[in-house]
Symmetry: C2
Subunit: 78 residues, 2 copies
């Protein structure tokens, strides 16, 4: 499980960093923290799926998780 | 683990329902889905804590998760 977690985290963090460089996300986005959050959600979904959670309830969890996705952010003032 | 999940879910769902009744959350909030999301986060954090994640990174995950918390919502139009 730890191997999965580290691979997911590294991959997500790299993708998020790329988005901050592209301006898709605010440049002060904390890529490590955001990656940790989505890894947390993935791990929790894995546990629930193994536990018999329905596809619908997992989908609802994803929808909620995506509300935590930051926007491009307002231009930063002085 | 399944026992924990069900107890957490029931308790969260009841609390969320109470908030929709009190007007703290929009009355059309999907309490079951929101409870599933937070249980997902709790489970994911449990896995990561067992895996040696730092307190700081877990706190960052909580902060991200709270961005998914719905507000009272705009008054609904016709």
């Amino acid at each position: 499980m730890r191997g999965c977690r580290e691979a997911w985290h590294a991959s997500l963090q790299a993708r998020i960093l790329r988005s901050t460089e592209d301006g898709e996300l605010a440049s002060d986005t904390d890529a490590a923290a955001l990656a940790t959050f989505y890894v947390t959600v993935l791990l929790g979904m894995s546990v629930q799926a193994r536990d018999g959670a329905s596809r619908e309830s997992l989908r609802a969890a994803v929808e909620a998780a995506m509300r935590a996705w930051p926007g491009p952010g307002a231009p930063r003032g002085p």
